[in-house]
Symmetry: C2
Subunit: 320 residues, 2 copies
């Protein structure tokens, strides 16, 4: 099977979205964006043995990469439309591996109603997966990081820290044999919640690099301080069972990979948010509030986290 047959075989399934004019197979894809909407786009790369164990099951690798990318759409309040896949693989990758990868990708794409519309396959010593996702949002309504307001409550979805707590266990055994591994391999891109928060939340992002570090992006973009109460951060029973409290909290504060949504909203929206949470079965927990400031920061129980933590989350590159 040559490159083109391989792509046709593994990455060219029928799409049923009338906004997709041309998918896989030409020099480029063609989409239309409905009138009154803007296009929200994100690109994410995952590298073997950096973002996932190279020996993990390919269907898990594929669907996790897509979930992580789609999570950015959730954080913007966008409805998934389409994605492109750039896949770099070692020359000796087997057809079986590729078919399994393709199957995991397709199942996940179906779950989120997102169409694969193009891609590129290349050879590379490492497995490198880059996924570009796009979705639509009513013009001017995207949830961004720069509109948090003083007195907003700070909310998070789900539990925080599970994926970071799972990682050392997975590195020992990449198979899906422990409960906590699900949080790592199956992050839930909170699309329905993101859509419901449009017009309600003032700011939002997804927690991919650690709660403190990601919260600091809102603080900097919105020029405010976010005060977080450590005892309100939702930690799962699974995480608490596996680790002492201090370690579990540390995973929540500085670990990554949870892909839960952190958002801020005015107090008068509390009931709306709790109703949405119940309706969608997505737990939402108030973990703090926004404070007007002249110097953006994150405070944990009132103490500036710069004084508590040198590293507040995952850094791909260190000081140079």
């Amino acid at each position: 099977m040559n490159e083109f047959e391989l792509i046709k075989h593994c990455f060219n399934w029928p799409q049923n979205n009338s906004d997709i004019i041309c998918a896989v197979g030409d020099d480029a894809s063609i989409v239309q964006v409905p009138s009154g909407y803007e296009l929200v786009q994100s690109i994410d790369t995952q590298v073997a043995d950096v973002h996932f164990p190279a020996s993990a099951p390919p269907q898990l690798i594929a669907q996790r990469a897509l979930r992580c990318a789609i999570s950015d759409l959730a954080a913007m309040g966008a409805k998934p439309q389409a994605f492109h896949l750039a896949l770099s693989l070692p020359k000796d990758t087997s057809k079986t591996w590729l078919e399994s990868f393709s199957s995991g990708l397709r199942n996940c794409a179906d779950e989120y109603s997102i169409s694969l519309i193009g891609g590129d396959t290349t050879s590379c010593p490492s497995i490198v997966i880059t996924i570009q996702v796009q979705g639509i949002v009513p013009s001017g309504k995207a949830l961004t990081r720069d509109k948090a307001q003083a007195a907003d409550n700070i909310w998070v979805t789900g539990n925080i820290g599970d994926a970071a707590g799972a990682l050392p266990l997975i590195l020992n055994n990449p198979e899906l044999s422990i409960d906590l591994a699900k949080a790592y391999y199956y992050p839930q891109a909170q699309i329905q919640l993101g859509l419901a928060l449009v017009g309600i939340a003032n700011s939002a992002l997804d927690i991919s690099d650690g709660l403190l570090q990601d919260a600091s992006h809102i603080a900097k973009a919105s020029n405010c301080t976010l005060n977080i109460h450590s005892d309100r951060i939702p930690l799962s029973p699974l995480l608490r069972d596996k680790y002492p409290y201090a370690q579990a909290l540390d995973y929540a504060l500085t670990g990554g990979d949870d892909y839960q949504i952190l958002f801020t909203a005015p107090t008068e929206s509390d009931n709306k948010i709790l109703n949405i949470a119940q309706l969608l079965s997505v737990p939402c927990t108030k973990i703090g509030h926004v404070i007007a400031t002249s110097s953006p920061s994150i405070t944990l129980d009132g103490i500036d986290t710069n004084n508590l933590y040198h590293d507040q989350g995952y850094q791909h590159f260190n000081d140079q």
Copy 2:
């Protein structure tokens, strides 16, 4: 400099396109597509020592990667709008390397009036550059591969084979010290020509993997045979100086990386095309014509190329 400061420093320059609502800095970018237009998108990966020598000057690597990606927009008749960059780099990459990469990228982006609107930087043992580009085209007017008509003339822009002829020389010396190297490092994405061909050409693509192989994509998609006259294929004096005729022709037929446009158009458009070529100073050469067929193929001087060449172009993956 940490990851976020590095991105801000190297990949966050001002954009001046009113269709860009939100660029680098949030979970995702936001663009609008003007009414009456569709969005054309492509994604391309280049891997060190597969697509370019790892030791090549970083500004050349960057701008070449962007040119190659933009070429797909030219082949579709689209006007460049924006791009996302996913950059994977070894941990020990120097700030100097990155600044040089960034400078080459920005110069090229300015040349093509295309805005950098988002990206991702990750660590990886190899340098892997994935660029997603997008442009706009009036709805329904994109140049695709599937509408070549019997009796269409087959045209190519520029000279063919220069980049493939340059490659063995560059692999010996990655610096830009030989004339032929320019064809490799500075492929010209034929954007103006692509825009001018909308409504004139019936089909088009860019030649990235070799003339015969890329021509076969049009043959298959349009269900026709493309007959190419070998003596009409434009070979540059530089290529002819460096190699015997048979070798030069082989580079043109089966080498890649030229990023010239191959298109088909009805005979009555000949004068229009020659006028456009003169106006834009982009040589266009008629190299053959399209033949109705029940079995799509490429014939060279009337002989089926499947009988002449086993490998008709670059394959990232071989038979497995």
